[in-house]
């Protein structure tokens, strides 16, 4: 079945540690890729997106993601996390217009 997979359910890091969250998808063809963040009690905010071009995408708040087509992956990274990055992170795939499917989310807890 077509899906979006986030293998890390809960990640706990100390401040200043580096972050990498995995995302894999199984949709064929050209897809648009997104990472969203949901801070506690808040709505979804777009961190970054990839449509085409440079597979290394830079987003807000120091986040970046790399699209590796051969691996069907779009992993999120941040070199040094802060306590304020504590949130739920969602990878999402749009395999065609007007469709956006989410992964199960990864909860990130950053310990001061």
């Amino acid at each position: 079945a077509q899906s979006v997979s986030q293998h890390n359910h809960h990640v706990i890091l100390s401040e200043a540690a580096s972050l990498e969250l995995g995302c894999n998808y199984s949709y064929g063809g050209t897809v648009n890729l997104f990472w969203y963040v949901q801070y506690p009690g808040q709505h979804l905010q777009l961190l970054l997106k990839y449509f085409s071009g440079d597979p290394l995408v830079k987003g807000i708040k120091g986040f970046e993601a790399e699209f590796i087509k051969s691996k069907f992956s779009f992993n999120l990274r941040k070199p040094s996390v802060q306590w304020s990055d504590t949130a739920e992170y969602f990878c999402a795939v749009s395999p065609w217009a007007n469709n956006l499917f989410f992964g199960t989310g990864t909860r990130l807890t950053v310990i001061p």
Binding site: N32, F34, H43, L44, K49, A92
Partner: protein
């Protein structure tokens, strides 16, 4: 100037009641969506409307009915509420290019 606004933010109601959640977007987007986020934070698409026509209807009980009076509004009506309907419901919208999805702040529905 909220781009996608939902009301109410919180809704507590008894089993068996009928309730509606309203959503409005001022982005001029062509498609609007309803997502359900369960207690495990999983986001599942429920409906989408494009130019007042339903184009996605996932396996959602027919107690849920989307109503779109115009392109800027997509309301969610729920009949005979059940305990399992308790969740956070997010409205979203996108342009036809599918290059960006904007989410509302969510409605936390609690059925008692």
């Amino acid at each position: 100037d909220t781009a996608v606004s939902q009301t109410p933010k919180y809704l507590v109601t008894q089993m068996g009641n009928d309730k509606s959640i309203k959503c409005e977007q001022n982005l001029g987007h062509d498609t609007m969506y309803w997502y359900k986020q369960d207690s495990k934070k999983f986001l599942k698409i429920m409906f989408s409307y494009n130019n007042k026509e339903l184009i996605i209807n996932e396996t959602v009980p027919n107690r849920f009915s989307p109503k779109s009076p115009d392109k800027a509004h997509l309301n969610l009506h729920i009949n005979s509420l059940e305990l399992g309907d308790s969740a956070v419901y997010f409205c979203a919208s996108s342009a036809d290019r599918g290059d960006g999805y904007t989410f509302g702040s969510g409605t936390r529905l609690t059925v008692v």
